[in-house]
Symmetry: C2
Amino acid sequence: MIGKLSLNQATTKYWTVEQAVDGCVRAGIGAIGLWREPVAETGLDAAVRLVRDAGLRVSSYCRGGFLTGPDEAATLDDNRRAIDEAAALGAPCLVMVVGGLPPGERDIVAVRKRMAQRVGLLAPYAQEWGVRLALEPLHPMYCADRAVLSTLRQALDIAERFPVDAVGVVVDAYHVWWDPEVHDQIARAGERIASFQVCDWILPLAEDALLSRGMMGDGHVDFRALGRSVAAAGYDGDVEVEIFNADIWAADGDDVLATMVQRYREHVAPVEVG
Amino acid sequence: MIGKLSLNQATTKYWTVEQAVDGCVRAGIGAIGLWREPVAETGLDAAVRLVRDAGLRVSSYCRGGFLTGPDEAATLDDNRRAIDEAAALGAPCLVMVVGGLPPGERDIVAVRKRMAQRVGLLAPYAQEWGVRLALEPLHPMYCADRAVLSTLRQALDIAERFPVDAVGVVVDAYHVWWDPEVHDQIARAGERIASFQVCDWILPLAEDALLSRGMMGDGHVDFRALGRSVAAAGYDGDVEVEIFNADIWAADGDDVLATMVQRYREHVAPVEVG
């Protein structure tokens, strides 16, 4: 087992849950971050059995959120189902990508207020089921279309309104590495840190900006510095590698995991948390 | 004259200084933001005469910066020459794009310290020549390769170490619209605001991320809200339209200025500063 390393399923997008679980076992990776779509394809009960039988930890469940649109009832209902699934899988947290500006809306202050209110409407349900809502600030590049939650400071300003076991934050190196406040805000976060994810900022940006992420060591992110701060803040959970990248998706899954393990040891493990 | 509207020369990239000055006069635009490269092509003295004879205000000079690289002496020398040119042109400020991470460097904290120190080495010279260094936070999308200065808070933390007439900040809507703190930091900035620039955040991102900017009204930015805050902070300078966009560059310059005037009136002018 390679310490706290976890495979986020998005890194091997074309693997089923079964393939990803088997791949982790072959590579000696002890944890996995699961996504709703492949879990639905496998079937929730089957997915639960697969990870349990393999003895894997489920480090996170991806993802809930998209809270900013006009249909509040449907949004909340969908998120409650995601919480149910996360609870069944034994995931400690549901990663929340909060959503961007709805079409035609430019009043970002109002959209952010609405988003925070809806986090509040979900928090008691999440707490009851033992699944933390993990608010994920996304890189400001995605503010208009993916997440109006843009910094750790902003995420913590919201999370701190709720019990610590109900709402936490994700520290994703890709999204926060540029933030002049990142180390201060990680220290502030403390036990609010629900997930630590790593992948690298590489240039030029991919034609689809969503797929611009790179393997650790291929880009500009100082993982050692971020890892030190996350560990100093008391986080001892898993470290997920989550890479959206068409070239990595096209590569052989076992090769990707082997590279991931090597790069994790080289760039992240010296400051391994936990 | 259309109030405080200014054409930043980058919007009409293929126009010479003479063409841009003439275009402003034809369109009734009273101010222009000049760039070093076209000014060098025209010749500094000729450029000074052109803007003076046309009765235009020079709203800014673009640009200095790129302070993060290994050759400090050459960097400072080049910036001093830019200050000289800005003074000759009567520009109130030199826009500073501070530079990204030098090749191979991942310690962004150290690079940012170096950048701030070099601002300090230039500030007395700028003050002496009556040209404010206008620190421009760039969108975090450009942090690795263009500017490790990413937020207004960070820019003000540096600017406030120096006299207010030596170092100010640029509020560029494109770069700061996503920031949850933007209105608070604009209020904090007060008379530190050296320049207010507008253009829109449009999606999808262009293949060259530098050219992703759009005409006001084509994207997601709430210019009215930003303009209100900038005016409330006491800024009464010009409002520059600065758009890097291949389609706009390919269009007829007079048409671009006509659209710019119309969009300025529609989206920005109701909260016009000054």
